[in-house]
Amino acid sequence: SQELEQSPQSLIVQEGKNLTINCTSSKTLYGLYWYKQKYGEGLIFLMMLQKGGEEKSHEKITAKLDEKKQQSSLHITASQPSHAGIYLCGADRGAQKLVFGQGTRLTINP
């Protein structure tokens, strides 16, 4: 089973709508990373969260780590076609190792 569970696995939304992607861990998260993956372009770092309750924003993307540090959510406001891709959450497991969720495939319909 996955150490990190992402939901939903795929998401189709209409352009302009808001959406949320969740990442849940069975262990306390000491560092939670969000990446976006586009085919042929590798992974793009979005943001990192470390403190319980921490929230960070980048353009129209906001990520939050809950107080218990076992769940993170990624929220996109007024989605655009450029937001389409696969979103991955990654967790710090020490010894310079990151583990990742299975990804959420986001499709934006015009």
């Binding site: 372009e41 991955l88 310079q96 990151l98 583990v99 990742f100 990804g103």
Partner: protein, 112 residues
Amino acid sequence: GAGVSQSPSNKVTEKGKDVELRCDPISGHTALYWYRQRLGQGLEFLIYFQGNSAPDKSGLPSDRFSAERTGESVSTLTIQRTQQEDSAVYLCASGWGQETQYFGPGTRLLVL
């Protein structure tokens, strides 16, 4: 500046053949990571280099997999006697530490 590059971008090989995947990290990055992503699955950590040494090889799936890094620069991931289950996208990332990893575009390996 130039990002992480990987070659080849695509590789099709026959079962039983050896393959070598190359990663050119961003200049000056001391840390280098290899990951594997199978279809429909998340990223799987393979190995990590700090400089030229690899303190953590625990992620390598079998003894058919090996990796080396020379000159604190280029790294090669070698898979011997490839099997169909080795088919995946192999991603390389570099950085100064774990906090920010810059990923390459990946090598898509297909073992027939």
